[in-house]
C-alpha cells in the first residue's frame, strides 16, 4: 500500500503563541531571546526576519537590525501547552503521530482515507480544527514519505498545503537548495558546495557508492533522499505528562558541572515524590537543558538500563525482570537520577551557563499492587527501599524546604 504521510508545521509558532497571550503583539515584529544581555535569538517572527534577524544571532545584533521588534523571553510552559493542543488534534486523525519538535510533527495517514477522505481534505480539516482550538495557523505537506512531506510543508508556507503525487518525489526535491534540505542543513552544505553540489538534484551527478564511501551512512541516506526515497517510519512517542514534569530555574545561571548535578538530583527527588504520590512508575526520563542564551538541548533515557536493570530500584518486579536490557519502570529518586545524569552528560555539550533544567517522566504505568508470591532477595530489597522512600516522603511533607532530609549530593 502506498504510504501517505502528512507533515504539519505551525507557522511562526513561538511568536504566534506569544501573540495569543498578548494580542497587542499582533502585526508587530516579535523576537524570542534569552533573558541575559548576551542571550541569543531563539526564534524570530516573519516580520523580524524581513529585517534580517535570524535564529542563533546574539540579542544585541538583533536589536541593531530590528529596532521596531519586541524582544521577549521564551515561555516554555505556554509553548508546551500549545504544542500538546496541536498534537491532540493530529491524534484524532491517525493513531501514528510523531512529534519532531514542539511546532512540527508527522502523521501517518496511510489507510485513514476511508475514515476522513483524501489526505488534502483531512489536511484542511486539521488546519480548521487547530485554528479553532488554538488560534494557530499550520502548513501541511503530503507525500509518500517523511522526507518529501517535510520538504513539501516547507514550500507550503503560509497556511497552504502542498501535495506531491506519488512517483514524482525525485522531481520535487531536485531543485531544492542543499542548505534547505532537511538531511543537510547549514552545517553540512559547505562540504557539498565544495563538490559543486548546490541543489539536491546535483547529488545524482555522482554514484551512490562514491557518496557512501565519502560521507558514510549519511551520504547513502542523502543519495536516497535525492532520489526522493525515505523508508523511515513515523514513530509514535509518548507525550509529556504535565503532572510528571518538574523544573528548576537557576538563580544565578550556572556552568559548574557538579553544581548542576546537585540540581538534577533535587529534580529527581521531586519527580520521584510526584510519581510515588500518584502510585505510578516511569519507564522513560526526558531532560531539557535550557541555556542562558535561549537555546535548549533535550535528551531521553531509560531508568534501570544503566543500573543493572533496576535490581535495587523501586521498580515493577515483572518489568525489571523482563526488561533488564531495555530499562525498567521506576519511581525511586536514585534510579531517576542515574537515568537523568546519563542524559545530562549527553545533552550538556556547550560551555554556556544553564538557565534552567526541566525533568519529566514518560511511559507512565501504574505501580503494581499485587505482592509477589515467592519474594526473593531482590523483591525484599525493593520493599525495603519502598519503605525508605515512603518515610522520606512523609518527612519531606512534614518539614518542607531546607528542613527536609536531603542527600548530600542534592546540596552540591
Amino acid at each position: 500500500m502506498e504510504r501517505e504521510i502528512l507533515h504539519v508545521n505551525t507557522d511562526d509558532f513561538y511568536a504566534s503563541v506569544l501573540r495569543l497571550r498578548d494580542p497587542a503583539l499582533r502585526k508587530r515584529a516579535v523576537v524570542v531571546v534569552g533573558a541575559s544581555p548576551r542571550g541569543m535569538v531563539f526564534s524570530a517572527s516573519y516580520e523580524a526576519r524581513t529585517d534580517g534577524v535570524t535564529r542563533g544571532m546574539t540579542a544585541s545584533a538583533a536589536r541593531r537590525l530590528s529596532s521596531r521588534a519586541v524582544f521577549l523571553p521564551p515561555d516554555w510552559g505556554l509553548f508546551r501547552r500549545a504544542s500538546s493542543a496541536i498534537f491532540g488534534v493530529l491524534r484524532r486523525y491517525s493513531p501514528t503521530v510523531e512529534s519532531a519538535s514542539l511546532d512540527e510533527g508527522y502523521v501517518d495517514y496511510t489507510g485513514c482515507g476511508r475514515l476522513f477522505g483524501p489526505a488534502p481534505d483531512a489536511g484542511r480539516r486539521i488546519k480548521d480544527e487547530i485554528a479553532r482550538e488554538t488560534g494557530l495557523a499550520v502548513s501541511l505537506g503530503v507525500a509518500s514519505n517523511k522526507l518529501v512531506s517535510h520538504v513539501a510543508s516547507r514550500s507550503a508556507k503560509c497556511a497552504n498545503l502542498v501535495d506531491v503525487y506519488a512517483g514524482y518525489e525525485r522531481s520535487f526535491v531536485a531543485p531544492v537548495p542543499v542548505a534547505r534540505f532537511p538531511l543537510v542543513g547549514e552545517k553540512r552544505s559547505p562540504a557539498l558546495c565544495e563538490l559543486g553540489v548546490a541543489r539536491v538534484g546535483d547529488v545524482l551527478l555522482f554514484t551512490e557508492e562514491i557518496f557512501a564511501f565519502c560521507f558514510g551512512s549519511w551520504g547513502k541516506r542523502l543519495y536516497r533522499g535525492a532520489l526522493g526515497e525515505d523508508t523511515a517510519p513515523v514513530r509514535t512517542r509518548a507525550g509529556i505528562d504535565e503532572r510528571f514534569t518538574v523544573e528548576e530555574i537557576l538563580e544565578p545561571d550556572r556552568v559548574d558541572y557538579r553544581s548542576l548535578e546537585g540540581v538534577l538530583y533535587r529534580l529527581a527527588e521531586r519527580l520521584g515524590g510526584k510519581l510515588r504520590a500518584e502510585r505510578s512508575l516511569a519507564g522513560a526520563v526526558s531532560l531539557e537543558v535550557r541555556y542562558a542564551d535561549g537555546l535548549a538541548a533535550r535528551g531521553t533515557g531509560r531508568p534501570g538500563a544503566q543500573v543493572g536493570g533496576g535490581a535495587e530500584a523501586l521498580a515493577a518486579p515483572e518489568a525489571s525482570a523482563a526488561s533488564a536490557a531495555s530499562g525498567a519502570s521506576v519511581s525511586d529518586d536514585l534510579s531517576i537520577y542515574e537515568a537523568a545524569r546519563e542524559v545530562f552528560a549527553r545533552a550538556y555539550a556547550r560551555r554556556v551557563r544553564v538557565r534552567s533544567l526541566v525533568l519529566s517522566a514518560g511511559r507512565i504505568v501504574p505501580a503494581p499492587l499485587q505482592l509477589e508470591l515467592f519474594a526473593g532477595d531482590r523483591a525484599a530489597a525493593v520493599e525495603r527501599r519502598g519503605k525508605l522512600y515512603a518515610a522520606l516522603d512523609r518527612l519531606r511533607a512534614a518539614y518542607p524546604g531546607r528542613a527536609a532530609p536531603a542527600f548530600g549530593r542534592a546540596l552540591a
Binding site: P120, A152, D163, Y165, P175, A191, E194, L195, I210, F213
Partner: protein, 107 residues
C-alpha cells in the same frame, strides 16, 4: 593534510573530475536531467475532467517543465488560447506546458 573528511572529499573530487572534465555540455545535460525546473501555475478554470478530482479550481499546479509526458501522466496542454489538463495518451493535441507532479492549495 587536513581532516580525513577533507581527504575523502578531495578523493571524491578527483574521482569525479573525469566526469566534470567532460566539459560544460556534459554538465549542462547532467544538470538538466537531475534538476528539472518546477513552476507553479494557478488553475482559474478547470477545462478537463481528466484530473479526476485531484485538482480543483483555485489550486496551483506544480508543473515539471522541459520534458514530454509519459503515457498516463497528467499534463497541462495549451490548445490555441485555452489550457487544459490531459491524461497523456501519446498524442500531441497541443503544446505541452508541463507535467503535473503535485498541487499547492490554500487551506
Amino acid at each position: 593534510m587536513g581532516s580525513p573528511q577533507a581527504a575523502q572529499r578531495a578523493l571524491l573530487a578527483s574521482t569525479c573530475g573525469v566526469q566534470w572534465a567532460a566539459g560544460p555540455a556534459y554538465r549542462a545535460r547532467a544538470r538538466t536531467e537531475n534538476r528539472m525546473a518546477l513552476t507553479y501555475r494557478k488553475v482559474d478554470l478547470l477545462l478537463s475532467s481528466d484530473a479526476g478530482g485531484e485538482v480543483r479550481e483555485g489550486d496551483c499546479l506544480l508543473l515539471e517543465m522541459g520534458r514530454s509526458p509519459a503515457a498516463g501522466e497528467l499534463a497541462l496542454v495549451r490548445r490555441g488560447r485555452a489550457e487544459a489538463l490531459r491524461r497523456w495518451d501519446g498524442e500531441c493535441g497541443g503544446e505541452v506546458l508541463g507535467v503535473v507532479i503535485g498541487v499547492k492549495r490554500k487551506l
